[in-house]
Structures are given as structure tokens and as C-alpha cells.
Amino acid sequence: MVVEILKGCKILRHDERVTVAEVSPEKVREIAKELFNAGCYYSCGMGVDERPINLRFAMYHVFNCEAERRHVILKLTTPANGLTMPSITPVIEGANWSEREAMDMLGIVFDGHPEPERLILPEDWPEGVYPLRKDFPYNKKLPPAKPKGEKRKPRADVMEVPLGPYHPTLHEPEYFEIYVKGDKIVDAKYRGFHVHRGMEKLAESRMTLNQIPFLAERICGICGCTHSTAYCQAVEDAADIYVPERARYIRTIMLEVERIHSHLLWFGIACHLLGFDSGFMHLWRAREYIMDVAELITGNRKTYGINLVGGVRRDIPEKKKKKVLELLDLAEKDSREVLDSVAKMKELRERMENVGVLPKKKGRRIGVVGPVARASGIDTDVRRDHPYAAYGDLDFEVPVYKGEDVLSRFLVRYDETFQSFNMIRQALANMPEGELINEDYEIPHFKLGIGVTEAPRGEDVHVLITWGENKVYRWHPRASTYNNLPAVPVMLRDNDIADAPIIIASIDPCFSCTDHVSIIDSERGRVLWRGSLEEGVRRLGDGKA
């Protein structure tokens, strides 16, 4: 069916997993619309500076077609001198951020974009400087330009509450602007991307193929393994490299271990935000067992560093397997007890039920992924729809709830946690013998590859373009929170301000995952808030005085 839709376009690649087609600017909108109507939601978009190859800029729109278990990538190109291409945001809401990102980073102009404002670059970034272009050196530093602040008339009957960037609820610097009337939130604004680390630029400019997994792992402190896996899968896809069975299984195990620890961590945070610190402590105690599992297998509690292109680096021998199983049993028993009694508590349920509602249709249009989508009744899970690693061989269910509220997000994660436990058991049980890594492969020149994993927060997509002598030409990781965040303002509306923290937390936001895709040196993003930084420092100073 995708084939029908793409009829008349230049198909660059078509296999059982991915379809890449170059579409003409005139047709892109209706093709995108048809794809969306055919049940493919917008996954991510990557802008590329392809001037060294063909003197053009390209924009890759990645669609996820669960129905056909494939990713459809629409390639749009524009000559380097023209630099305009039609925006598909009018028809696909989810494309909003990706296009604005390409705007900031590469200077591509999308005509017809509803809100062509800066998304990623801070207010004080000079105009007309595009960091992801190939002619921009990665270590260049620029003096901050003068930010242009917007003027608007405040309303007398509405309170404007800033939430962040340094709010105890947000464990990473992000900025929400909440408009409160009475105790109700009437509107909310989001401004993110303060944690700029310029990883893409770094990877493209000075790292080699097998170093990048360790960088990708540091995209996120919680779900790093999925990112490195996704990266490796992308390379393997591009160069189509055979990955040994045992390696696939070990990857699966680590991914699920990571999922459990991430979910338990989230439950703890949720309890804390709802003022129930005992549950917080109990859950994190249960989580310790899982951290021990990770430490036992990979030699570290987090940043497992287990993935390489073509396989994994560490084996799980028999004696470890036994220990792992014991720890798993302990963790499952413990967390199940605690979670059950937490779920029974009345005031906690009341604070989650019918709070932060995200209607299914809206969610689909924004393109939310992972537990947020499943809690809104959208039946999507990369592990099932695009089987990777060893997920094809395991049997598991995908929990879907129709509540559309925080409680159902809670329940989705609850089910997933215990699914993961016995997925790990299955994987450990029927893990085939064999080598761990396949190291003889050729990296082709300038070839597109895509790797998708189901992070605890949803679908992670890594799109990359290889470049001979073990480098990557362009690497675009898209974290799941990047798709979920635009839904938060929708969820916040018409809720009690007391519920804002739990609603924001209910998508299990991972801001630095989202922001890594931005630019250059870490100071940049904070320039906007430098005043408060200095203030904080001053406070400290006085404290010492």
C-alpha cells in the first residue's frame, strides 16, 4: 500500500524494513497526508547538508508504518542556493519540531510553516549562523548576540507562573510557562533545549564509528543502552552487517534490564511528586537489585558500554546467569508488593485519575510514542512492530489502556515492568551459544541507515549516513521524549496547578535526551539564564561569608 502511495516517486531503497523515496516538493504534502491517513505516524525528520556530494540540502522525513512493519523515509532536496522547501507541518502536526530544528541548524527555509520561530538555538545565538553545516567547524566559539525579547500585555486576572529551568520538579533544566486562573491552568508554554551538548557535530567531526556507541550511550543517563543499540543497528542496517544470535539476546537482556530500572525509577519519582516519600524509598530500594544485575553483567550500574557495531562486548556466563535470576526474583517480588500497595492508596489514585488527559486523536497527530501513546489507547510498540535484537523470538504482550490520563500511564508502565521481568527470564533461558561479535565488515560510502529501538519512554530513532573510512557523515538520534514533549501543554490545560509536576513527569520526560541534538558547547544554552546563574553563585558566596 505504501508502494501505491509512493507511485511515481524515485524509490532509492525498498526492502522488508525500510523504504526510501525521493519525492518532489510539489507532491510531498499530499503524499505525507496519505501516509498519515494510511496509519503511519510521523517519527522524525533529519536535515542534511549534502553539498559535498551534490551541492544540495536534503530533508529526510521518517514515517513509522506499523501496519506494514516498515519505516518510510521521504527525501526532499533543495539546491544550496535556493534553500526553500515546502513545510509538511500544516498536514502533519508532528513535523513541527523537526522542521524548526532543520531551520535552526541548517538554515533550510520551510515555507508554509505555522510558527517559524527558533526551537533549539538560544535567543542570543547570532542570526544566519548554522552550526550543523559542514563548513562550520565544531570547535568554533561565537560571542553571544543581543537577544530580542518579546513584548506583550499581561492580563490582570491570570497569574503567570514560571516552572523552571531550575525547579525541584524538573530534574533537568527545562522551562514551562504556566498561566493560572484560580487554581486551574488555562494555558502552558514550553521552551526547552537548554542542555546543549552538540553530540551530532562531535560525532560527525571527530569520532570514529566504534567510538560513537559510547557517545550515543551518554545521550541519556537513564536509557543510554537503547541509544547505543539504536546507533549500532543503524550502522548494521546501512552496511548490512550480520549480528550473531547470542549478541542479539544479550542486547535484549540489557535493554529490558534498563527498562525495568527506568520504570522503577519513574514510579519512585511519581510517588515523590505526589508527596508519598515512603513509596519513593521502597521503590528505589527494589531498583537497587536491578542495578546490581546490570553491574554484574556489564561491570557498571549505568552506561553499560556493552554495544559495538556488529555485536556486544561482554558475555553472560552460566554462573552469572544464576545470580542474575536470583536478583530478578528478589526485585520482582519486592517491587510488586510495593507497587500494589501504592496503587491501592486512595489519595494517590485520585491525583492521577482523569488528570493530564491526552485524547487519542490529538496524540496521534502529535505523534506521541511509548507508554504515553499506549495509555491513550494507541497500540504501538517497536519491539513488536519492528522486531529487532531478539524480540522476534520472545513472546510478550503490549499493554494498552484507554484512560488517556496519568493513571493509565502509571498502569502501562506497571504492566511493562513485569512483562520485562519474564522477557529477561525467557531470553536467559533460550540464549543460543556462539560468538559475541562479528568484526569483519565493510562500511559503504554515503549510505543511509536507520535503527529503531523501544526505549522505556518510547521509540528511539537513529538515522545516519555512513562515510567510508569508519566515520559517519550525518548522525541524527531522535529520543522518544522529543515526540512526547509537545503533548505536555495539551495535557496541562484545565488541570489544578498542584498537578502540573505529576503531569509533566507522567511522560517520563528525559530532557537531555531531547536536547542533545542541539548544538555546540554546553555554555551556550545557559547564556539565557546567566543572570540567575550568577545570582545563585552570589547566594552561595554570601552563604560562605
Binding site: E160, G164, P165, E535
Partner: protein, 631 residues
């Protein structure tokens, strides 16, 4: 040439000269003269307590015709009226002094004000001084007339409407009262003199409860409209909001007390003690304080908020009065006397702190030209004195020790709460409502003075002629709070004059009601002061930094709008408000009916004269009833 004549002449003089020009200078002169005369009123009040007979003015001795029917006009100060004269004197002095600068606000011809203001004061005084029911009703109506001119002073449509509504309602109330008075005079064989009535009437009415209730109801309705008891209060918020602030001060501070004075006269002097009457009055009081204050919580206009609180506080006064009647008739002389004393005490306290608050609201309006609590903010930086006096006023109306509101409220609780009757339930409501008052005035104060403003407001402190009156009233609040002996002495004199023997409360240094309760405001004040200053000395802060708003520096409106204060509380107590709305709907439907009736009976009428038309009907009914009972 008694002092009384001097005062009367002064007022009339002020009115007459005020007639000549509407310039600022003339207004100032009128206000100054009124202030002078007010000092005279204070003097009257003081000597009234010492030797009542000295102030006596008789006109029309043995006249013919109409004056013959009225009998001679005797103006005399009894201790009770002296007490209210004091309130009148102090408040009208502050208000007039305040008016000297305040009236500059109004750019238009102020002749209307120049004439009505002194006459309004004069007739309030005469209403308190007269000893004859018929003269009383005459002065009462004149007072209403001039006060409604003052309300209409701004001549804006809302002002005129408010004034007319006020006039119609009080007028209709007065009709009820007139009925009661007529009935009284019939029963007392033609004498309208207070002394005469008090000799004849009670002994007769004891055996005729029907007449008692008839008179009582007439009086309660008539006086109640003026005192704005729920549900007859609807005129008050509009009127108080529209009047100039110094006039609102007088309306809420004094004019609202005159019906209370009359209630004391009627129910303690003319009518026999009756527990159900007392109970009824207490119920009315409770309803008034509950609904008045609960509605005040929602207001976002400074003067409207204060107006609703006047309703609520009058509720306290009336509750105490009713409780006193109930207890006295129940034979509990001690608590009954305490309740009556509490009623008078709260009356004078309400006069002081509410007057003060209206003045501060006026000062803010004078400088910023706004009464909108959603808009205002951060004024304490620019108007520190006003802010401080407003804080004193707010704390004392909230009943915070050691300010005066605390003592009177405490006496009310003491007389109601521990009694094993339904009164204690009323007391509980009063206690709850006191907390609502606190909340409401936290809102009043913080929205105007502390919270950051919507946009920069740059103003100066008001001129001394405006803050001195505030300071005076604030001082009175504090004094009556920590030294209750002074007012209680006057009150006991006043009560003895209407035949209630006040048992000796131990009034210095504290108040002790044997086996019921005891407070020692002075001690509390001293300890608070000692600790407070000590701790204040401990804390110092040199470092000044911008507010920490979780790291952002965007210029947002980070201010709680007055409309969203206590939102969730109001949401949970929705029943109260929905009840109010329901009542409003019901009344308006009745009004439509009566309107039709009125048109039927050719009573060409304005929107707001529901009470008038209603009274036309009620008049009929009353006459029939009275006919029944008196024949």
C-alpha cells in the same frame, strides 16, 4: 446658647455657605466647619455621660396644630445616645478632616456635597438626640434623604441607580417602622415621648404578645433595612461603593449604627423582654454575618469588599444583641449583660476599624484612581503610612490580639459559645466567620499593598490631612484593644441607662467573666511586643537580591489575581454561593410580580423599588392585622 445650638448653627451655616459656590476652597471650608462641629459632637457625647440633663433643647413648647400633635421637640442626651454620639463625633471628625483633601478628586461642581454633607451629619445627630418617636421618624427620613444625595454625588449612572435603590429600600423600611410607631402611639394613648412610652408600654404588652410581635416586626424590618441585615442588604454594597470614601466611612461607621441604637431603645426600653424575639434577632444576626462575610470573600473591588464586610460585622453586633435579649429573658443576667456590652463594643469597634479601612481604600483610590484589586499592588513601598494603618485596620477587623476587634469578638463568643443552647451554634458560626474575615482581609491588604503590581505604579504618600485621620482611628483601634476598661466603662453606663444592670466585670488589666472566660489583652500585648522585638533584633539582613523565580528572568505577571484567591475554598463551599444565587433569582421573580402589581396600582416606579412596592402590599396586610389585634 447651649453647645447643642452652637453645633446645629455650625452645621446649618456650613450648608448655607456651601450653597454659594462649588469650588474646591468652599468644599474645604465646609469640611473644616463640619470637622469643628464634629468636635462639638464629641464634647456632647462626653458630657452626656456625666450630666445628661445639661444638654437639653426644647422647641415648640405647647404649640398648636401639627406641632401640637408632635409635641414639643426635646433634644436630650442619654448615656446610650451619648455613646453613639461619641462614635458619630470621632468618625465624622476624621471623615471631615479627610474630606478636606480627598474631595479634590472630584473635578466637578461640589455644591450638592457641600449642602448635603453637613445636613447629613446634623440629622444623624438629631436622630440620636431626639426623645420623640415622631420626630425620630422625621429626622430619620431626612437623614436618608441627604445621605442618598451624597451617594448619588458622582452622578454616574451606577451612582444614581445605587442611590435610588438605597432610597427606595430604606424608605420602604421606614414605612414599616411608621406602622409600628403608629401602633405604639395608639397603644400608649397618644404619647410619643420615649420616657412616656417606656413607662406605659412594656407593662401593657406583656399580656398582648400579638402587638409585641407586630411592633417588633415592624421595627426589625424598618431598622433592619437600614442596618442592612440579610436579606435586606442588597442596597448596601452598591451605595457604599459609589459614595465618596469619607461618606462611605460615615455610612458604614455611623449611619449603620443608628438602627442599632434604636434597636437597643426599642427592645430594651419599650418592649418587654421576650426570648423568642431575642432568638429571632440572633438568627438574623447569624445569617447576616455568615452570608455577608462569605460574599465579601469573593469581591474584587476594594470598597465593595469592605461594604460586604460591613454587612457581616453588623451581623456580629445584631447577633450579640439578640443573644443578650435571649439570655436576659432567660434569666442569665451575667451573660446577657456581657452580650449586650459586646454588641455595643463591637458597634464602636466596627465604626473605628471599618471607618479606617474605608479611608485607606479612599487614599489608594485618591492616588491611583483605581479600586480594582486585580489591578492594584505593591503600594506599601510608596504609601507606607496608609499601608501600616490599613494593616492595623485589617488585623483588628480580623480580630487579631491585641487589637480591639479581638476583645469584642471574644466577648461575643464568651456570651454565646459556652451556653448549652442553640446560641453556642451561632457562636461557632461567628468563630468560623471570623477566620473567613481574616482571609478576606489578608486578601484586601496583600492585593493592594504587597503583591507586585501589574504594571509599575508610581505614587506618593497621601497628604497629612488624609493620613492623620487614619492614624487617629488606628490609634483608637489599638487603645480599645489593649485597654478595654475605657469603652467598657462607658458601655456599662449606657446600658444602665436603659435598665440593664451590668455586673462588675473585672476590667483592669484584663476582662474576667466569672467561670466563663478571661483575657488580659495588655499582658498579651506586652509579651508579643517583647518577643517580637527580641526576635526582630535577632534577624538582620543586608543582602538584597532579586526574587528567585526558579531561574527565569522573563518579565512575567507573577502575581496572584484577587479573583483567584482561595479559589478552591470557594469551589468547595459552592453551596453558600449557589444558595445566594437562588435567593437572588427568587427575589427577582417576586420583584417582577410586584412590579406588575405596582404598575397595576399606578405606582410608577424605577427598577430598584422592589421594597417600596412590596411595602405597599405589606402595608395593606399589616393594617389588617393591626386592626385585628387592636380591636
Amino acid at each position: 446658647m447651649t453647645p447643642l445650638t452652637v453645633i446645629v448653627i455650625l452645621f446649618i451655616l456650613a450648608a448655607v455657605v456651601g450653597l454659594f459656590s462649588g469650588g474646591k476652597a468652599m468644599t474645604k471650608a465646609v469640611n473644616l466647619i463640619s470637622a469643628l462641629a464634629s468636635l462639638g459632637i464629641c464634647y456632647l457625647g462626653i458630657i452626656g455621660f456625666t450630666n445628661a440633663q445639661s444638654v437639653k433643647l426644647s422647641l415648640f413648647e405647647g404649640g398648636r396644630g401639627i406641632t401640637g400633635l408632635l409635641g414639643s421637640l426635646t433634644l436630650k442626651v442619654t448615656p446610650l445616645s451619648a455613646f453613639f454620639l461619641l462614635i458619630l463625633g470621632v468618625l465624622s471628625f476624621s471623615a471631615s478632616l479627610y474630606g478636606v483633601s480627598y474631595m479634590d478628586m472630584y473635578k466637578r461642581d461640589t455644591r450638592l456635597y457641600n449642602v448635603s454633607y453637613p445636613l447629613f451629619l446634623l440629622f444623624m445627630m438629631l436622630t440620636l438626640l431626639t426623645q420623640n418617636l415622631l420626630w425620630f421618624i422625621i429626622f430619620w427620613e431626612l437623614m436618608t434623604l441627604f445621605s442618598q444625595f451624597l451617594v448619588a454625588f458622582e452622578r454616574s449612572e451606577r451612582a444614581v441607580k445605587a442611590a435610588f435603590k438605597y432610597f427606595c429600600m430604606t424608605k420602604a423600611g421606614a414605612d414599616f417602622m411608621l406602622l409600628a410607631i403608629v401602633l405604639t402611639i395608639i397603644k400608649t394613648a397618644g404619647t410619643a415621648e420615649y420616657s412616656g412610652i417606656s413607662q406605659v408600654l412594656p407593662s401593657y404588652l406583656i399580656y398582648h404578645p400579638a402587638e409585641t410581635y407586630a411592633i417588633a416586626i415592624g421595627m426589625i424590618v424598618g431598622l433592619g433595612v437600614k442596618a442592612a441585615v440579610v436579606p435586606l442588604h442588597s442596597w448596601l454594597p452598591d451605595a457604599y461603593m459609589e459614595a465618596p470614601s469619607n461618606v462611605s466611612t460615615l455610612l458604614s461607621g455611623v449611619m449603620e449604627k443608628i438602627p442599632v441604637y434604636m434597636m437597643f431603645v426599642v427592645f430594651l426600653w419599650f418592649l418587654p423582654l421576650d426570648r423568642y424575639l431575642g432568638l429571632g434577632i440572633a438568627v438574623i444576626g447569624t445569617l447576616t454575618l455568615f452570608f455577608g462575610t462569605m460574599y465579601a470573600l469573593k469581591q474584587t473591588d476594594s470598597k465593595r469588599l469592605l461594604a460586604y464586610h460591613s454587612v457581616g460585622q453588623i451581623g456580629y453586633v445584631i447577633l450579640a444583641l439578640g443573644a443578650g435579649l435571649y439570655l436576659l429573658s432567660g434569666g442569665d443576667a451575667l451573660l446577657g449583660a456581657v452580650a449586650l456590652a459586646a454588641s455595643l463594643y463591637h458597634a464602636i469597634n466596627h465604626a473605628t476599624f471599618k471607618g479606617l479601612l474605608f479611608l485607606t481604600a479612599g487614599s489608594v483610590a485618591y492616588r491611583t484612581g483605581s479600586r480594582d484589586l486585580n489591578y492594584l499592588g505593591g503600594l506599601a513601598k510608596f504609601m507606607p503610612i496608609t499601608a501600616f494603618t490599613a494593616l492595623i485596620g485589617a488585623l483588628s477587623i480580623a480580630g487579631m490580639p491585641p487589637l480591639n476587634g479581638f476583645v469584642s469578638k471574644w466577648m461575643i463568643y464568651a456570651s454565646t459559645l459556652p451556653t448549652p443552647t442553640v446560641l453556642s451554634l451561632f457562636g461557632a458560626f461567628a468563630l468560623f466567620i471570623s477566620s473567613v474575615t481574616t482571609a478576606s482581609f489578608v486578601k484586601y491588604f496583600t492585593t493592594m499593598f504587597t503583591r507586585p503590581p501589574l504594571e509599575r505604579i508610581e505614587v506618593k504618600e497621601v497628604p497629612p490631612t488624609m493620613w492623620v485621620p487614619q492614624a487617629i482611628l488606628a490609634f483608637v483601634c489599638l487603645t480599645f484593644g489593649i485597654y478595654p476598661k475605657l469603652p467598657l466603662g462607658l458601655i456599662s453606663k449606657a446600658l444602665t441607662s436603659v435598665g440593664v444592670s451590668v455586673p462588675a466585670l473585672k476590667t483592669f488589666p484584663g476582662i474576667v467573666i466569672p467561670s466563663t472566660g478571661n483575657i488580659e489583652p495588655l499582658a498579651i500585648f506586652v509579651i508579643l511586643l517583647a518577643f517580637g522585638t527580641a526576635f526582630l533584633a535577632l534577624t538582620h539582613s543586608k543582602v538584597v537580591l532579586p526574587v528567585w523565580t526558579t531561574g527565569t528572568r522573563k518579565p512575567l505577571a507573577m502575581r496572584l489575581p484577587a479573583s483567584s484567591y482561595y479559589a478552591s475554598f470557594e469551589e468547595e463551599f459552592e453551596e453558600v454561593y449557589s444558595l445566594g444565587e437562588w435567593a437572588g433569582k427568587a427575589i427577582s421573580s417576586i420583584w417582577r410580580g410586584t412590579k406588575r402589581l405596582a404598575v397595576l396600582y399606578e405606582v410608577r416606579s424605577y427598577q430598584a423599588d422592589l421594597m417600596m412596592t412590596a411595602s405597599a402590599v405589606a402595608l395593606l396586610i399589616m393594617v389588617l392585622i393591626l386592626g385585628g389585634v387592636s380591636l
